[in-house]
Symmetry: D2
């Protein structure tokens, strides 16, 4: 390890905890070129942020993220706040010359996201978006296998994210239900699907979306985000896709799946079995017709050598360890992936789906990007 990198974490909620977990675990599981040092964490509630600093092993805490951004010992600003604040903080951090890691979605509109891209570009700082699911071993293996031709040319892609977070109508109104503060279901859940879909199958050209808000009032306030949305998708390659995301699917806690069908094979990832990948190879002997369940922990698989013996399995946390570990390994020269440009590209598709649903028509993503 050739030195320490100073980290400042903005936000001590579940994402702040997840990123702290990632920074803490990465050096134990893999030989990093740079050891992260958690220098400072910010949050508006002094008592809570102090407690988080102790728990997460952070040297100190502040109640204003602007102070964190200014601190010279902070090399990387890691933004773990709600979506509505992402772009502003990212722009400020870039302006201060800091590398920036921003939780997804990068912003709440494409123009906002584009501003963040510009800011990072002008400041020439490393920048990354927290599309952590790419770094789950099995998802990473799926991408690798596609790259190696395991499914041939992709024709169809389908992905769903079903959650029941909003089923209960008595959940009081908060920022999650307020469009101006962020938080469409398209962006919250769908941004992961869109990121993975474009990573695996290339850019999305056009979308036809639909959205619905089934519980339109909470705490006597109008809910301005969608409870559930879906989109048909045309990729630039000619492949076709179908995406669905919902926060009103009873007893679906976090059921995320992604499948690609190519001319030579099928690959399927189901989050409920996150250490596995289903693979159907059109070239297999007919007598073996069916799909394999690959245990994505074999030593040759992505990240496998860093973790446990085969069959033991990793959880959600591993995605942060792997992603943040990869970023630290590429400090300070980069490149970092996925970067703000990808975050903005995803946001453009989110905006296109939102517009398409509002206007009941196909929307070309170039309408958004301009």
């Amino acid at each position: 390890m050739s030195g320490e990198v100073g980290i400042g974490i903005v936000g001590y909620g579940i994402m702040g905890k997840a990123h702290s977990y990632g920074y803490t675990v990465a050096p134990v599981m893999r030989r990093l070129r740079h050891r992260p040092r958690l220098r400072v964490i910010s949050g508006r509630d002094k008592q809570k942020v102090d407690a988080a600093a102790v728990a997460y092993g952070v040297d100190g805490s502040v109640t204003d993220w602007r102070e964190l951004v200014r601190r010279p010992e902070v090399d990387i600003v890691d933004i773990c706040t709600p979506p509505g604040t992402h772009a502003e903080i990212a722009i400020a951090a870039a302006a201060a010359g800091k590398a920036v890691i921003c939780e997804k979605p990068l912003a709440v509109t494409y123009p906002q996201a584009a501003s963040a891209v510009d800011a990072a570009g002008k400041a020439r700082v490393l920048n990354a978006v927290g599309f952590n699911y790419r770094s789950l071993p099995a998802v990473s293996l799926m991408k690798r296998m596609i790259g190696e031709g395991a499914v041939g040319k992709i024709r169809l892609l389908r992905a769903t994210w079903l959650s029941d977070e909003f089923v209960d109508p008595t959940i009081p109104f908060d920022w999650r239900f307020d469009r101006s503060m962020g938080g469409t279901t398209i962006a919250d859940l769908g941004s992961h699907l869109i990121d993975l879909a474009t990573w695996m199958a290339g850019p999305i050209a056009e979308v036809s979306g639909q959205s619905e808000t089934f519980i339109r009032q909470r705490s006597d306030k109008a809910v301005t985000v969608d409870d559930a949305s879906a989109a048909l998708v045309r990729f630039e390659s000619g492949a076709r896709g179908a995406l669905e995301m919902a926060r009103v699917a009873v007893r679906r806690p976090c059921d995320f799946t992604i499948e690609v069908n190519g001319d030579r094979g099928t690959l399927v990832f189901e989050y409920a079995r996150l250490n596995e990948l289903l693979y159907g190879d059109a070239g297999d002997r007919p007598e073996l017709y069916g799909m394999r369940r690959i245990r994505a922990e074999q030593q040759s698989h992505p990240y496998a050598a860093d973790w446990w013996p085969i069959g033991q399995g990793v959880g959600y946390g591993s995605s942060f360890v792997n992603h943040l570990g990869d970023l630290l390994d590429r400090w300070p020269d980069g490149p970092w992936e996925p970067d703000f440009a990808q975050g903005a590209a995803v946001q453009a598709v989110c905006d296109a789906i939102e517009r398409s649903a509002a206007e009941s028509r196909w929307v070309d993503v170039r309408e958004i990007v301009g």
Copy 2:
């Protein structure tokens, strides 16, 4: 059993075999009010239709379906030919005063289907369409549970049918690839999904579809049907749906799923486990969070008492036994379900999806129905 009903089967292919299986097995498994007697089977190849008559236990055979339709000993004409011929035969059979059972889809266009509805209506003959999957025990249980309020008000419905029937580009051109003879993937696979969706969640008001033909030539002829399609759906109730059907999904032999999410629960049917139903109840104790796997063979479940001890399981064939058995039990007074009117309603949605995909816009089903 109060008497015999004479059956004439048009077509000796896989559907003719499946229906023969159904008629043969129904009396063994359940106490029918009327025993079916297989009077005559028709097919153009004399040798093959003769062999089929022997195998299926049919009294005799003819090479022209028109003769079958005329036979006085035939009470019910059961049409098991390719889709392009359905409407013509159905209309002729109705005109001859026969009850008609027609394999799905009822026709290859909505106007054709509407003609069949008219013909049956004018002739006042019983009529049914072979949406056999309704009669799988677990699917039937799903419908019953929805009716009893197990999921509350349906908000979302998703259904897929993935097959690899068309993956191999060397399959020679035949009627399945010729739009005029029938056979879009929307109608072939999707008609089942649409039938079940409307049965469970009510009429579909509007659709946005997309279709693609990946293998555009076979045997040097242009393929004029879709390899894969998908549709966003708005139900009249306000519920939203997403349907997908494909015949180019490698190593997906017949993977049909349907899920509904209501305000109080979730139900999921997956064909690969066709004797089971997943059920998530929002009212369950939180400590039991998750979904149950109901073994749809308990004595109180639909059709269960006719079949085997719990856990032994039925297969695809049971759907024909159950459906045809139900029709025979309602002979000669009816009503029969699903009838031609439902077959035409399904065809209207198929046509709407096809038009929507061709014109890249939402299509109101009333545009089709006129």
Copy 3:
């Protein structure tokens, strides 16, 4: 088809129904050399046996099985009564020169079973035992693959059969709880496991068993059979096995599994997914580490061409169709499999487990066979 074979079915209960289903369906699904004709069915309750004759399509009925055995038009006596009566009927049928198909277990003790073997041998009649699960397509494929070397040399075999048939302590006493009338759990459920184990891995040399009766009184009578048993097994080949069978496993309706581990592969059958087979091949590329789920309906698979398009699936009933169809195809020359000798060999292992459990020691199967 070269002619009819006259069948007499002894017993109209669930097994009588299942066999009737098999005889009725076999000619529809496959081209049989001989068409079965259901000549007569016997049962003590005249009204019920008459109704069964009508339902199952049997020409006539009698209330005394001895009369059925005597009937000249009966070529094959098919015994579907409770176990305690099997040997007596089989012996009488053989003495009358009839071919005999006997439901499992062949008898309630090894000596009884051996008498049936002797009787059939002396009479030189074809004889078979209803180990129907061999004829499920996936189980049959498993046997074929083992024969082709897919797992190499078998080292370990494990099989379980879990049912909840006896969980409810208020079920009144009947023959199932009376050892003299048949019915240990070892024989009822375990006989299938033992038959499959020996079919796949060869003869069993020694066993160590344990048995327990948790509900010792029903209707104030002493239960004299086991609720659950298990056995360690040494095969003559040196392979090792573990078998378990229970009728007191709550919410396990009929959960039967069998797995073999050889030096080159693993094969697993799970009844809950009866159209599939799991296969792990030690020779696969490491990057594909895991097991395949073979859909045992590919055209090259056993029985697949007789049934439905791939992915549609068969149920429990298919085992009877396939087994009885195979027997009819080998009429009148044989050989029939599995035969009484195999039925007796299975019974010897059942008796060895029972003795082992009673005496708390390993029992060599030769102790039973003498």
Copy 4:
């Protein structure tokens, strides 16, 4: 947090890494009363142990475990070496007045294990054995539910651990194949099963075991451990069990399952779905017949509040975080669970199975304990 506790880790292999992970993560995920401080790590290879110290965040390293044991800043000695060394180190650590955490199995024979129990007792030091699987959330929930009566009185228990670690005959001889250095399959894999079985169903009274070594030579040396073993088990309560453990099951990387059937319910844990628990309740409405898949991440479930939002899932590592976190929370007053006495009780059952297999007879565990 009221202070730091000094930890000394003996061994830097995979278990040393897993425990380091546990100590590092525990403070991030939960509010510990005592923060662990990794003071020193020992290992014979200076370069490797130094690298491990850096990676795992340990203050320093030594090449002799005896020095680690002597260090005053070490409060807890955590033994992560191969089994053959456990007892000696544990005894020395206790003698030095240190609390001891020892990886499983506690020793390679019962007498050795009993010596460790005595040593800890005389020194009055806290002591624990690393039966980490107890601390997986779903396994912990299974224990809690059994305690709350979810299955009623346990009648049957079955547990298996299938691995393919030893399938390849070209793996060279090392300590894992040498009985004197530790390592039966019974102890390596089975000790976890025995620990969980006794935790859930009470003490084991008697066993009948079988063992086999299929690959008897490696690197021209005789293998003196079993490749696979199984045991029938009688619990003191009268319940019956069946255990199986194997390291020669092809493509079974680590397939551990445990199921209990009580008079009122069934619970099943399958490691391949480690965040879930199957539950069948005999008291459920018959129409809902089947088992639930409980997502063991609901906020009320053990450890759930420390980890991620429901549905995201934890992996193998969580067991160490949870177990070590529990021990730290009970520092310095205890009690610690499972302790050396439990470790010795498990070892007694391992020895009983080994003896039973060697002598082909049932062995009462009291024969071992004396």
